[in-house]
């Protein structure tokens, strides 16, 4: 691994990695059963440098912002490297957002360059949102068909300069990227991550989950997500490891990729992990009775032998068939983006496949705590990573309070929002809004949220304010969306739901027509953003002088109503 303490920027470290590991494989890209690409670090450099040169010829330089909206693939990483090489600031956006949401964030970020793939550009170029983001002056599109109408964009494959580009140095304190943790509706939350944030996070994470040139990391979580950016790009690249991209994420191709590419690590969201568990359990249950007995005995033996620490060699010998299905080289499944249920984590650990569960926020530079497996604890999210100071603010008598963190990995602040930054980072401590307790062994346990938001099992952060626009002009006196947990705190991080609180006009009834109207508006939202039910409140909403709803006061009033009877299903 490179000694990252010597480097000032992400670009500088990556530049050295491409030379140091020149002959190692860095990228493999497959589409179903077809392998589309296999690049060494040297070949990666040969792809990226002409792009960097062309960007420089287009006057893209230090501090300029370039956005990538792409599915996981080699061109994502090649483009990101070229941006860093030029001293630029990367703005990775979620390819699953709607075109309007993407344009909104492009405008907010001030990006002058957009790199995207043709199917996404087809949607983006036809969207009305395009007119507002006049800051985007250069669009590069990958894999466009020969006769495609590019609507003013240029082909990524043909955007190549000749001659060597000039590397642009940056300082550790400079912004390396702007990562949106949420806020597509109301208030965009663009986390300004510095080069130091990434360099420090990489050192901390790889000290517990190391990479080396034989490692193969399968990249499934979107690369715009802080986790995949770190463990599916920067981490493996600074250690000479390889990243495997799948262009289709159908479960059968994901399953096939494990043995085919001898995967070492993979990151998954809890939903996918649970699905994997379900599939495996169904196969175990289908075994003949006698085999089932033997299998269960082997699992129990493995559990006993790995109680204090993982023993990969022993687990592989005991449960060979299970491990072979995963390629025989899998060292850990990294799970992130949302909270995982302890029983799922234990299920995999008992099979000899440790799940690296942890806890983190984009604002904190990805991970704050990670299970160090010494021993494995399914009921906690692990211990703080090296360099992380953790504090529980205003703990109750049982020790539960708001988790706050101080570290070199904490973001510089939210882009263009000093007010929100000041609320979030107080005296150098990042207030997470999550409730937790540090147990006697130093492991963090989580107990719900203090903030008005939910995180889905797919790792999506949803803020109620962001989805309210869909209910605008609803024929009622007033309405407001809440995370049910925020009103009725539940000591759980799973099964979170949104509710629509309605104050009807005088004499108005909650009629079938209104319910249908709400339903049809709700269905316009992406499935994971939809509200779960309606709560009726027969009093005026408390408001500020500028007539904004005082959400915390309203939540306190609602808290007096019984949850079970309050939520009317849609």
């Amino acid at each position: 691994m490179l000694d990252l303490s010597k480097y000032q920027s992400v670009g500088e470290a990556l530049k050295d990695a491409l030379d140091q590991f020149a002959n190692e494989v860095c990228l493999i890209e497959t589409d179903r059963e077809r392998e589309k690409e296999r690049l060494t670090y040297h070949e990666f450099k040969n792809r990226a440098h002409p792009l960097a040169k062309a960007l420089q010829e287009a006057s893209f330089g230090a501090g300029d912002r370039a956005s990538i909206i792409m599915t996981n693939q080699s061109k994502w990483l090649i483009s990101a490297y070229a941006i860093f090489f030029c001293g630029g600031v990367l703005v990775p956006l979620d390819y699953k957002l709607t075109p309007e949401e993407q344009w909104q964030l492009l405008k907010h970020s001030g990006a002058t360059v957009l790199i995207t793939e043709y199917p996404i550009w087809r949607q983006l170029s036809g969207s009305v949102g395009r007119a507002a983001a006049t800051n985007v002056r250069l669009v590069l599109v990958t894999e466009a068909p020969v006769s495609a109408d590019l609507s003013g964009a240029q082909r990524w494959e043909e955007f190549r300069g000749s001659g060597e580009p000039v590397f642009v140095a940056r300082k550790r304190s400079d912004t390396a990227s702007i990562v949106y943790s949420s806020g597509t509706g109301g208030r965009p939350k663009g986390c300004m991550m510095t080069h130091e944030n990434y360099l420090e996070q990489c050192v901390a994470l790889t000290s517990i989950y190391p990479f080396w040139p034989d490692v193969r990391y399968m990249s499934i979580l979107p690369t715009n997500h802080a986790i995949d950016f770190m463990v599916g790009f920067f981490g493996p690249f600074t250690c000479g490891a390889a990243v495997v991209h799948l262009r289709t994420l159908r479960p059968e191709y994901v399953r096939e990729a494990f043995p085919k590419y001898k995967i070492t690590y993979v990151s998954l969201v809890p939903l996918v992990l649970k699905n994997l568990q379900k599939g495996l359990q169904a196969r175990f249950d289908a075994l003949p009775r006698a085999k089932q007995k033997i299998f269960n005995a082997l699992v129990a033996l493995n559990r006993a032998l790995t109680k204090s620490r993982p023993r990969p060699g022993i687990s592989r010998r005991l449960l060979t068939q299970v491990h072979d299905a995963f390629g025989g080289e899998l060292r850990a499944i990294i799970v992130g983006g949302a909270f995982s249920e302890p029983q799922t984590l234990q299920f995999f650990y008992d099979l000899g496949i440790p799940v690296a569960n942890g806890y983190g926020l984009t604002e904190a530079g990805t991970a704050i705590t990670v299970n160090d497996l010494k021993p494995f604890r399914a009921d906690t999210v692990g211990k703080p990573l090296p360099g992380m100071e953790l504090r529980i603010v205003n703990p109750a008598s049982d020790g539960v309070g708001e988790v706050s963190v101080r570290s070199k990995t904490v973001m510089a602040g939210y882009l263009n929002d000093p007010e929100l930054t000041a609320e979030t980072i107080v005296d150098g401590w990042l207030m997470t809004g999550d409730l937790g307790r540090i147990d006697e062994t130093g492991n963090l346990q989580l107990f719900g949220r203090k903030k008005n938001m939910i995180v889905t099992e797919e790792g999506k952060n949803i803020y109620p304010e962001d989805i309210e626009t869909v209910f605008e002009s609803l024929p009622v006196k007033e309405f407001c969306v809440f995370a049910a947990n925020y009103i009725w705190p539940k000591r759980s991080m799973t099964g979170e739901q949104l509710v629509l609180v309605i104050h009807l006009d005088p004499g108005q009834e909650y009629a079938e027509e209104l319910r249908r109207d709400i339903n049809s508006r709700n269905n316009r939202l992406l499935n994971y953003k939809r509200v779960h039910g309606v709560v009726l409140l027969d009093e005026d909403f408390p408001r500020t002088a500028s007539l904004k709803i005082r959400r915390n006061v309203l939540a306190e009033r609602l808290a007096k109503v019984d949850t079970a009877s309050a939520i009317l299903p849609l």
């Binding site: 599915t71 709607t98 199917p119 289709t248 159908r250 479960p251 699905n275």
Partner: protein, 80 residues
């Protein structure tokens, strides 16, 4: 060559079979997340079955944001 109506009907029949629902219980306008109570992963599994049936490949981006059978059938039809 199938008509869009035929494709739509076959999509509905296969989805009903895949999720073990009575034949004829699904309609073209149904939101499959809501009607079937499934998640995005289960949708991908259903897509693989549809691909095999129709002998087409549906890139993931083609079905991004699609949540009703009618639109899904249209995407399949465009590749037949």
């Amino acid at each position: 060559m199938r008509t869009l109506e035929q494709t739509t009907q076959e999509v509905l029949d296969l989805a009903a079979k895949h999720f073990q629902l009575p034949a004829g219980s699904l309609s073209p306008g149904d939101d499959f997340f809501k009607k079937l109570g499934i998640d995005s992963l289960q949708t991908l599994e259903m897509l693989s079955r549809l691909e095999n049936h129709f002998g087409v490949e549906l890139p993931d981006y083609e079905v991004q944001g699609v949540s009703d059978f009618k639109t899904l059938a249209e995407r399949i039809q465009s590749r037949l």
